[in-house]
């Protein structure tokens, strides 16, 4: 059995910030990351972040992991990092089971854990939605921005939220034709600054439209698109065809919550937070003592919010283990204030109404 004081599951934005926060407070931290590199989904975010300076606004997502790793390096005597670690279980007695590099199995029983596993992409139901060429928007981003490979020649984007708009722009940066962006909602969900950017480049955004069917034998060759009414029902006779070799699905993400559910944390399905999320207190501690959660697993938001949640959860987890820094209250109040300001505005209203349903005092 491996020993650890605080285990952090996931080395993405939330996990890395939790590690910085906890290690700087004096806790001994072990980060377990499934991938062979840290940074989570930041490694493909070529766009500059919004928010304030504290959440690395005006910095490209791809540059943030190194900033956080340099920060973490200051407390390296308190930090152990293990990559290529898939967590296979979290048990009632606090034991976490891990497979390292697909062949070594070990157990670790920490005093506390911060689960920061993130989220995964949702799919959309329509005939032939499993054809190769139909890819998640994040997957397309990985392929282009991490590996330098074009997903195809002609892309139709489904979803006009921030990810759909940003990835459309990034596809054009990579030299790929985007034939259009659809969204079933009557208005564009993402920031208008992103929407205007792609519109200026001549990409039509079709609101109140959805995919009716994909056509192709081995791969997608055509997408049939139609208009929907205000109850999201297809309107007959409005079909149009797009010749595409990629249909990019950007219809949101849902929390990767299996480990928390397995551990016995009380979970609740909250549509505003995009799925089943843990009931928690303001310290981001779940209903199981010493099991904390941070980032998209507590509700899908932007990476900026995930980072602040990570700082807050790491700070509180360390304090719970007896590493309460002198400026604990000050830092905690600052993180809460940062989250409040990130959640100002219409999207934030939805998030806040979701948090209301899972927050226990």
């Amino acid at each position: 059995m491996k020993q650890a004081e605080l285990v952090i599951i996931g080395g993405g934005p939330a996990g890395l910030c939790a590690a910085v926060s906890a290690a700087s407070s004096g806790a001994k931290v072990l980060i377990l990351e499934r991938n062979n590199a840290l940074g989570g989904q930041l490694v493909k975010q070529t766009h500059m972040f919004f928010g304030s300076e504290k959440q690395y606004a005006s910095t490209r997502g791809i540059d943030i992991p190194n900033i956080l790793l340099n920060e973490l390096d200051k407390y390296k005597e308190n930090v152990e990092i293990m990559t290529d670690c898939t967590i296979v279980g979290m048990f009632e007695d606090g034991v976490i089971t891990v497979i390292h590099k697909e062949d070594k199995y070990f157990k670790v029983k920490p005093e506390a854990v911060v689960v920061a596993t993130g989220a995964f992409e949702k799919s959309l139901v329509f005939p032939n939605n499993d054809l190769p060429g139909i890819y998640g928007a994040g997957a397309v981003q990985t392929l282009m921005n991490v590996h330098g490979v074009k997903p195809g020649d002609r892309v139709l984007m489904v979803g006009a939220g921030n990810i759909g708009l940003i990835v459309s722009y990034q596809l054009m940066q990579a030299g790929v034709k985007v034939v259009g962006i659809l969204d079933a909602a009557p208005q564009i969900g993402g920031y208008l600054v992103h929407a205007s950017k792609v519109r200026r480049m001549g990409v039509p955004i079709l609101t109140s439209h959805t995919v009716k069917e994909a056509i192709g034998t081995d791969c997608i060759e055509k997408a049939i698109v139609c208009e929907v009414d205000n109850k999201f029902q297809p309107i007959p006779g409005t079909e149009q065809e797009f010749d595409v070799d990629v249909l990019c699905i950007s219809v949101g993400l849902t929390p990767l919550n299996e480990l928390l559910a397995m551990r016995g944390c009380e979970m609740k399905f909250v549509p505003q937070l995009s799925g089943s999320v843990p009931v928690r207190n303001e310290n981001y501690e779940t209903t199981v003592e010493n099991v904390f959660a941070a980032g998209d697993i507590t509700g899908v938001e932007e990476a900026s919010a995930a980072m602040v949640e990570g700082y807050l959860a790491g700070l509180c987890a360390a304090a719970k283990l007896g590493h309460k820094s002198d400026d604990f209250e000050e830092k905690k109040a600052d993180y809460i204030k940062q989250l409040d300001s990130l959640r100002a505005g219409p999207v934030g209203e939805k998030i806040l109404s979701g948090i209301e349903q899972i927050l226990v005092k």
């Binding site: 995964f120 054809l131 139909i134 590996h147 195809g152």
Partner: protein, 101 residues
Amino acid sequence: MRIEKHPILDFDKSKKVKFTFNGQELEGYEGETIQAALHAAGVKVLGKSIKMHRPRGFYCAIGNCSSCFMIVDGVPNVKTCVTDLKEGMVVETQEGKGVIK
């Protein structure tokens, strides 16, 4: 299928890696995944679904969805979207659940 010029990013293409796909010799680059190398070579069908034998490509590219399972060096159910390409790898499309040897 590779990006030639990008306004923000540079891609390290310094070291070529040779591998085979269903017996055919292909080339990729060190540091990329098996699936990325295959996609760059125009290979989009990575396997067949278990019951209906429908073509399968990648979907999430971060090791979550199981859509990119292939047989690599004789081992089935390898998540090719998160497994790095290595010199001399033998990559095959997978049909069915795979057999543990």
